[in-house]
């Protein structure tokens, strides 16, 4: 069915606005003298950084895949005792910012093995994996919950055992979700700064940051960012290859489907439970107990409850606005992609991922330039901050919103028109309500990621506007770990709420 012109226009405008920071990068790159650019980009150091970045991304992504898919399988397809609690707990590490996790691991290491240091490639891989795997786990749970169980039964009736069936049939059905999650996860690793800087692994993103702090070399930072974009482009092309076209609309009737068989683990129950719980517990317990240790050991005390309260409210306000705006941008683009994916629509979608792979400081600087040059009145207001968040978070919202648009049957829009609704009213009265679960998931994901965001927030927040993340930064910067602890705890707690909401909605299906 045709996509109304205004909808396409809305999608283009909204997405372009969200993509403005990318233009900055291009403008800045053009200003950078070509020989210097080439020198910076094609140097031995670059090669070293690229090698580290790519191996770290590869390692973390593989670890996340194993962890994410494995946990999703255990939660949705087995009779493991307590699998629902496991299911919820496994999503919560998403709430832990990578810098808090890295600090936490270091503190715990100092406590347990005094005299040793916790740093380097392996440490970074472990820490980043521990907070990134939910990017794969969540969509895979969603996909596994909706995979047609009839196919699994067909495989079993053809003589295949449970594990065999999972790998030869189930995983293949969940493949689009898995690749999409893997993409997000890989891009996250590429753009992560907090953990790699604390754990001292030299990646490209860290190099971008250091070129800002070493000699205030903006252009060098920008030049290096272009390499990040190239990495992401490669990933996007790779994912585009793997991603299957052809969309399946969900059945409208909602008739009770058979539930997938859930396997008993027999005598392996205990070892498997241990294996499943270990990473989840470690990912959660290490940073949380570090916070506890901080607050017990230090003498610095946080300000009043009021300070925590206002930081919390500010966080929620900023992240809520970001979630609202980002999903609002994602909706027309998702509808367009779902109904009539033209080349332009697909291009816009891919571009959305590009910005997500840039370090927050680059996005921050680009919005600074934009604000000063174009909209000085809005500079350092919530609007500019929200714009930066939109640019950073769009792919997070786009994923679930697009999935829900794909599963909202287009026939219903025609039905609405045949009942006298104009196409626009049809979207509003029928499609949007049906997309609500996906819109909610997207908004929640943006919300919880925005709460954790720091570099762009610091640069663009209205003067005097303190969020949990900036407060945490203030106190850790002043070495006041005890004062920082409640903010970190609050940050994890607040982010855990959307994480919990998302996963519990999914797990309703496998109860």
């Amino acid at each position: 069915m045709a996509v109304p012109l205004w909808l396409r226009a809305a999608a283009v405008i909204a997405t372009l606005v969200a993509m403005l920071p990318l233009f900055y990068l291009i403008i800045r790159m053009a200003q950078f003298p070509l020989p210097d650019f080439l020198d910076t980009v094609f140097s031995a150091r670059s090669a070293r950084l690229a090698y580290t970045s790519l191996t770290l991304t590869g390692t973390v992504t593989v670890l996340c895949l194993i962890l994410g898919v494995g946990l999703a399988f255990l939660v949705t397809r087995t009779q493991l005792p307590g699998r629902l609690i496991l299911g919820v707990a496994a999503a919560l590490p998403l709430a832990v910012p990578s810098y808090v996790a890295a600090f936490g691991w270091q503190s715990m290491n100092a406590l347990i093995n005094p005299g040793t240091s916790f740093e380097g490639f392996l440490a970074a891989a472990i820490v980043i994996t521990s907070v990134t795997y939910p990017y794969i786990y969540l969509p895979v749970v969603a996909a596994l919950v909706s995979v047609d169980p009839a196919q699994e039964e067909a495989a079993r009736a053809l003589g295949r055992g449970p594990v065999d069936t999972f790998f030869s049939v189930t995983v293949r059905q969940a493949a689009p979700a898995i690749t999409a999650g893997t993409l997000l996860c890989a891009i996250y690793v590429i753009a992560d700064f907090g953990a790699v800087s604390i754990l001292r692994v030299d990646t490209f993103t860290r190099a971008v940051f250091t070129s800002f702090s070493m000699g205030f070399d903006r252009l060098g930072g920008v030049a290096l960012s272009s390499v990040l974009l190239v990495f992401t482009l490669c990933l996007l092309i790779l994912e585009g290859r793997v991603r299957r076209t052809g969309t399946r609309y969900s059945t409208m009737s909602g008739e009770g489907r058979a539930r997938p068989a859930r396997f008993s683990m027999g005598r392996f129950t205990l070892p498997i439970m241990a294996l499943a719980w270990a990473p989840v517990l470690i990912a959660l317990a290490v940073p949380l107990s570090a916070l506890l240790v901080w607050s017990v050991r230090g003498v610095s005390r946080p300000g009043s409850l009021g300070e925590i309260g206002s930081a919390l409210l500010n966080s929620l306000w900023a992240a809520g606005l970001a979630a609202l705006a980002t999903t609002a941008i994602a909706i027309p683009l998702a509808l367009w992609l779902a109904r009539r994916p033209s080349r332009l629509a697909r291009l816009l979608e891919r571009t959305a991922y590009l910005a997500h792979s840039l370090p927050g400081v680059v996005i921050g600087l680009s919005v600074v330039m934009l604000g000063i040059a174009v909209l000085p009145a809005l500079y350092q207001t919530m609007w500019m901050l929200t714009l930066a968040y939109c640019a950073l978070m769009l792919p997070l919202a786009l994923g679930p919103v697009l999935a829900s648009a794909l599963s909202a049957p287009p026939e219903l829009e025609e039905a609405a028109q045949s009942l006298g609704s104009s196409p626009g009213a049809g979207y509003l009265r029928v499609t949007l309500p049906l997309m609500l679960p996906g819109i909610l998931s997207g908004a929640l994901l943006v919300l919880l990621t925005t709460i954790k965001e720091l570099p762009a927030t610091l640069m663009l927040r209205p003067t005097g506007f303190d969020t949990l993340a900036t407060r945490l930064w203030t106190y850790t910067g002043g070495e006041s770990y005890a004062a920082a602890a409640p903010f970190a705890a609050m940050l994890v707690l607040v982010a855990a709420v959307p994480a919990w909401m998302m996963i519990s909605r999914l797990l309703k299906e496998v109860r």
């Binding site: 070493m214 500079y379 003067t463």
Partner: protein, 327 residues
């Protein structure tokens, strides 16, 4: 303060002018109480943005002339130099500048130091014998220190130190020093704070930091600085290892008289005493006590260097990168 410029639209100017925007690259915990006192005393409202010194400098450079900032408070002279180079700072009042020794301010009067910090070698008193400590920073490349020294090469203080090294010892000697240091299995850290923590925890034996980290740690732990298991070691004989650097301030919008008032306040006895007490840094004006347990600014056998020349960070950074200290 007085309005130097005739008010353009009549009536409500003075109330309007009594506020200013401060970009602070220094920590809020440290700065905010001082600002609060300033506001109380002068009635001038200060909107402070806090951020990292480097990120703020980048942001200021990006904002250019359109920046809403009136004053920039920076952690180190290099950042001030970078912003000054872009021509974003206005000239400061000579009367104000005269209070500060020439060594600690910009030659072209674009910024002024507010507090001084000394590079030291912090060491763990349990694992290191005082006698084993080096006389000069260059000795750290020796084999007896292999794998024992913490360095934060991406930190601005370290970069300023390298710049000073170049000024005093020459480019070649500096490159050799950096190469040898990099070859001596240094313990690379992101910041000074981490080096101090690791020295105290016994992860590493010693590290190149600023003097006041010791005091910060004592404060956080609620202990007497002298009781800690870490101590500052000063290089002697004007060794470049004990460079004195400053945190300072520059004014971006001198049309706002409140900006000058703030700089003035920070260089007042009250302001300087605050810095000395809170951060254990060296005050810049005469008549205010320096940190307890440290030699005074005059007593310090500091290298003879013009801080104005520390703004050429670019070459230093190149050399650091070249040496491989930064990945």
């Amino acid at each position: 303060g007085d309005t130097t410029e005739p008010a353009s639209n009549g009536d409500e100017t003075s109330a309007e002018q009594e506020s200013l925007v401060l970009y602070s690259g220094r920590n809020e915990e440290l700065i905010q109480p001082l600002i609060d006192t300033f506001s109380e005393e002068t009635g001038i409202e200060v909107d402070v943005r806090y951020g990292g010194t480097a990120e703020m400098a980048a942001q200021l450079l990006e904002e250019g002339e359109g920046s809403p900032a009136d004053v920039f408070l920076a952690q180190d002279a290099g950042a001030l130099g970078a912003v000054a180079e872009e021509g974003l700072f206005d000239e400061l009042d000579a009367e104000l500048l005269d209070q500060v020794p020439e060594a600690y301010r910009d030659a072209e009067d674009r910024w002024v130091g507010l507090s001084g910090r000394v590079r030291t070698l912090i060491y763990n008193t349990d694992t290191v014998d005082e006698a084993d400590l080096p006389e000069s920073v260059d000795e750290l490349t020796g084999s007896q220190y292999t794998g024992r020294v913490g360095v934060a090469p991406t930190n601005a203080s370290f970069q300023s130190f390298v710049t000073a090294h170049r000024e005093i010892e020459g480019e070649e000697a500096t490159q050799t020093f950096l190469d040898d240091l990099a070859a001596n299995d240094p313990q690379i850290r992101e910041g000074n704070g981490e080096i101090v923590t690791d020295v105290a925890d016994g992860v590493i034996d010693m590290g190149l930091v600023n003097h006041y980290y010791l005091y910060g740690r004592a404060k956080e732990l609620g202990e007497d600085p002298a009781e800690l298991n870490v101590a500052n070691h000063l290089f002697s004989g004007g060794d470049v290892g004990s460079l004195i650097n400053v945190a300072g301030v520059g004014v971006l919008n001198s049309e706002n008289p409140a900006a000058a008032s703030l700089a003035e306040f920070m260089l007042s006895t009250d302001g300087q005493t605050y810095f000395a007490e809170e951060t254990a840094e060296y005050p810049m004006i005469e008549g205010v006590e320096g940190p307890e347990g440290m030699p005074s600014l005059q007593e310090l056998d500091a290298p003879d260097i013009d801080l104005n020349r520390l703004d050429d960070l670019e070459t230093s950074v190149e050399m650091i990168v070249e040496s491989g200290l930064v990945g």
